[in-house]
Amino acid sequence: MSDIVLELRDVSRRFEVSQGAFKGSATLTAVAQVSLQVKRGEVFALVGESGSGKSTLAKMLLGLLPPSSGEILIDGTPIAASDRIAVARRIQPIFQDPYSSLNPRKSIAQLVGLPLVVHNVGDAASRRAKVVEMLDLVGLPRRLLDAYPGQLSGGQRQRVAIARALVMRPEVVICDEPTSALDVSVQAQILNLLLELKRELGLTYFFISHNLAVVEHLADRVAVMYLGRIVEERTRAGLFAQPGHPYTRALLESVLTPDPDLGVPDTHIGSAMANPMAEHAGCPFQPRCPTALNICKTTPPPVSALPDGWATCHLLQQEAVA
């Protein structure tokens, strides 16, 4: 088996967006030319701006959305060639929103057991046993088997989502903001649970989060996304010690530690959100970058190699020359 479990080669995804009755449509680029490799057994974290394309990327990894161009490989085999069902057996999601990702009319037992039914695994009795085993694994009391999502707290619903994701024993779990809707004591339990399950089951996580303290706690490698592009990819230690890209720096500056003597920092990158429908001749971060150079308006920054990864910023090129 190869060391690389997931690979993206130059993957892009575009959407046609209606502009209103008489204006026709425009193209929105949600993911632009992303290449990355996820190693077996690692926690690969993806952070970035709201709307930067993280969930779109996750959906493509899950085979729920085809790329507009580029290639996605699982264990070296392109996704298009392996069928949807086969993908679903090996890659399972835990989504951002425990409220909308669970069908409110299905019981917890039905929700957790659904993948088994879809994939035709076992008979009713063995499925029920498997579901009970999963509830125990994620720390949900068995009395909730016949409860409905509406009767559960946010944390309990997220445990249901985790149980459902793991019931097929996947290799890779795509976690899209798995703890962002949870309060901290539940978040701690879920993060401890995810780390424990990873050790126990040898899982690989593709972990999307906007909580950098959580990412620093959990990740082995981190990719930073901006406007559909990956602008920096580093080891955890390297990224947090010495961020290479100005956007990464702004991200790290925005982490709010629980200190009542400090206010909310101004990251100097403005609040104007990036527009995914605009064309960018130069660096896509240029309109907000506090350290932009003239060249940034006209020329896209090339990839600069760093000891533990890479980043795309003209400043790094200049440093290399100087």
Binding site: S50, G51, S55, G154, S185, L195, N211, A213, M273
Partner: protein
């Protein structure tokens, strides 16, 4: 007089298994221009508390209080028609789940302008102009184009910003924000929190911020109320609560979060053992006692607030004993 005065709020929900005491002991005040943060466990009653203030509780829920005043008006007895008028014009809410208040069938523009026009006598053009202004202030690029889009065409973060813009359409006196920045990445969270603080100042608005993010609470709140199992267990200035957390639950919460430099990567995070108690049936004593390291027989008895320093209240009968152990 406080803008909002909530005393002994109780919310009961009859269920098949008995009465759920979702909120049993909540009291706080909020002044104009002040931010109160409510923080606590999932299911502790934070959203119900805010819905009770807005009179938006689910029909089955029963609300009681010894006092529920907003700017002198008694919200316990106010006629429904007047309450509807207050809501949206003087009190506004940013919901935890954007899709519950965004209608999937209408464009963003329709919904924003409706929010204003059903309360004020404002022309369509003026309403549209204000919608664009607010979308720009919450940092949405291409605001005019976004007016024509439907909620499902926006990312989670964009929807949340639309919600914030919608709540601000009528320049309310009190804004209740239920997890307003949860879905946003941190640079935008910082911008939105600064923006809310700015607008709060500009309009001398009071804000109740519900969040599970202790970092946000520490940086933004003037006052904090920590809720557990339907009750406020600790309340005071943000400074007091973070510098001298005194309830065992509050201290447990602070140990749960990864803090770079303090927690080792990959090491288990502090956890609060056990589970939240079932709130169905009769409740007595401290609801935290099945999880508390300091629990003693007296914790099953009558609860009251201790006041370690003026303005800092802790609902624990063993504060002195805790100090002796710690």
């Amino acid at each position: 007089m406080a803008l909002l005065d909530v005393q002994d709020l109780v919310i009961d929900i009859p269920t098949a298994g008995g009465v759920l005491h979702a909120v049993s002991e909540v009291s706080f005040t909020v002044e104009r221009g002040e931010t109160l943060a409510i923080v606590g466990e999932s299911g502790s009653g934070k959203s119900l508390t805010s819905l009770a203030i807005m009179d938006l509780l689910p029909r089955v829920a029963q609300r009681r209080a010894t006092r529920l005043n907003f700017d002198g008006a008694d919200l316990l007895t106010i006629p429904a028609r007047q309450m509807r008028k207050l809501r949206g014009s003087r009190m506004a809410m940013i919901f935890q789940e954007p899709m519950t208040s965004l209608n999937p069938a209408y464009t963003i523009g329709n919904q924003l302008t409706e929010a204003l026009r059903c309360h004020d006598d404002v022309g369509a053009e003026a309403a549209r102009a204000r919608a664009i202004e607010l979308l720009e202030r919450v940092g949405i690029a291409g605001a005019e184009r976004r007016l024509l889009q439907y909620p499902h065409q926006l990312s989670g973060g964009l929807r949340q910003r639309v919600m914030i813009a919608m709540a601000l359409m009528c320049k309310p006196d009190l804004i209740i924000a239920d997890e307003p920045t949860t879905a946003l990445d941190v640079t935008i969270q910082a911008q939105i929190l600064r923006l809310l603080a700015e607008l709060k100042k500009e309009l001398n608005m009071a804000m109740i911020l519900i969040t599970h993010d202790l970092g946000v609470v520490a940086r933004v709140a003037d006052k904090v109320a920590v809720m557990y199992a339907g009750a406020v267990v600790e309340r005071g200035s943000a400074r007091a609560v973070f510098k001298a957390p005194s309830h065992p639950y509050t201290r447990g919460l602070l140990n749960c979060i990864p803090v770079p430099g303090r927690t080792a990567p990959g090491a288990p995070l502090g956890a609060i053992r056990g589970q939240v108690p079932n709130l169905i049936g009769r409740l007595a004593g401290c609801a935290f006692r099945n999880r508390c390291d300091f629990a003693a027989p007296e914790c099953a008895g009558e609860m009251h607030f201790e006041t370690p320093t003026p303005g800092h209240d802790v609902r624990c009968v063993r504060l002195a004993a805790q100090k002796a152990v710690a």
